[in-house]
Amino acid sequence: MKKPFIRASGLASPKQQHNWDWRAASNFIAGGAGGGLLLCAALAALAGLDAFAMRAAILLGLILIGGGLTCVWFEIGRPWRAMNVYRHFSSSWMTREAVVALTVFAAGGLALLTGASALGVLAGILGLGFLYSQARILAANKGIPAWRHSASIPLMVATGLAEGAGFLACVATFSATSSGSAVLLGLLVLIAVRAWFWKSYLNGLVADGAPDAALRVLKALGPRLLLIGHALPALAVAAALAGMPGRAALATAAGILAVAGGWVLKFTLVRRAAFTQGMALPHLPVRGKGPSGPAVKPGWKIIGQAHKV
């Protein structure tokens, strides 16, 4: 296959990263949802979710986290050295994620075996830790402006929790107790929280600056995310809470849409909007007796120029 020709001048501009493909994205997509689900299940258990639904939620959460980590294992260049990932706890969020994952599986596995609600709550707290670690992994990457923005951390946590609540809404339809309304209310709140943090993230990114290509991708996502991930699931939840017929179907649809919206958001963030920093020249060199040229930052708006969403 003929390789595309890249002009030398184009190499200075931000480029879409290709080192973390769908396998790495799957870790954030599935693992984040799994961590969120564990916490939501723990909170729902305190609100009266029955033991069967609780165990189903924990099992699903562990499968999601395990699936994500398996995907990323297939991506790394030296998979048989994977245990080296535990060597840098002092500063690497990837190490911390790996450590927390072990504790999540230990607590979650014991909760499944014993049915002890205290262990389920512990797994939920550790699930939140896993979710937070994932958010920090992205934010620590200074080479990708769309990730390093501080507003990406609450956004990643919020969408993980909303996805977890979405999964729980589906699982809770099998619950024998009356915890369904609490789960649906929680889902509604978390959808609203995610919508707020998405807006906050995008506004922050625009205000602080990012590669034009990244902003184009994220701005294009906005209307779809609003419809699929926020408006439609919120309407379905409201309809279910209002007592419309087909409550279980409405709750399931709301859950699936909340999860789908979050997964599209994370795939877009990790893959499609992940443009590198690119190069910059604060001063062009002085040639002969002429003046220095203006600052250059290919692929970015002129420095200081405001962006509008």
Binding site: R81, W93, V286
Partner: protein, 215 residues
């Protein structure tokens, strides 16, 4: 305390790519991988247009984001300022590639050679399987720097212990040396000129200084 840095005089660089070729020869990087590159940047609008050549590679940051995110401690910062990679520890997770704002790192997952899967004799002789599936980047020709400790020579002064790109530069745009030594050529040059370090706002404290005008 020694801290090795590089200065690149953008006024002198003519974009000949000799440093790129010298790096390729010295480090035997695989096809498509260049630890040292010279970017050709065209700016402005006719008739006020400019062309700038920008040599880039690992900036050997004093506060390297690649080192902080590395889960294996394969990436470390040495006492002399060089950022090094232990290929035996690296798992090829690419977290450092994402963390580097200078596009300096790359990972090759399968061995490729200039003419496909079969190496030429020269490629076979210098092929390093340890570099497959792990992160790699410019080392400031670390083997030469380490040789200086044995021979007593001075990096940046003696060509045998100076990075290949600096030795090869036909216009004298690139200088290398210890910035903590006030008498080193690079220290004197930086005193006499106006310069910047790329993406300083990110707090990486890179060790490559770009000279753009006299003081």
């Amino acid at each position: 305390m020694t801290r090795y840095v590089m200065s690149i005089d953008l006024r002198r660089c003519v974009g000949c790519q000799t440093c790129t070729a010298a790096c390729k020869g010295a480090n035997a990087t695989p096809p498509g991988i260049q630890w040292r590159r010279v970017l050709d940047i065209e700016t402005g609008e006719f008739p006020d247009v400019r062309r700038t050549f920008l040599p880039i590679a690992c900036m050997h940051c004093a506060n390297p984001p690649c080192e902080a995110v590395c889960p294996t401690r394969a990436t470390t910062k040495r006492a002399d300022g060089l950022v090094a990679i232990d290929y035996d520890l690296c798992i090829g997770c690419a977290n450092c590639v994402m963390a580097c704002p200078y596009d300096a790192r790359s990972i090759v997952h399968e061995a490729h050679f200039a003419y496909g899967d079969t190496p030429m004799a020269s490629e076979a002789k210098r092929f390093d399987p340890d570099r497959i599936g792990v992160s790699m980047k410019c080392t400031f020709c670390v083997d030469r720097i380490d040789l200086a400790a044995i021979t007593g020579q001075i990096p940046g002064v003696d060509p045998e212990v100076t990075p290949a790109c600096v030795n090869s530069c036909i216009s004298g745009a690139m200088q290398f040396g210890d910035i903590e030594d006030a008498d080193s050529s690079v220290s004197r040059l930086l005193k006499e000129t106006q310069h910047y370090r790329m993406h300083e706002e990110l707090g990486t404290e890179p060790s490559v200084y770009y000279i753009w005008d006299q003081s």
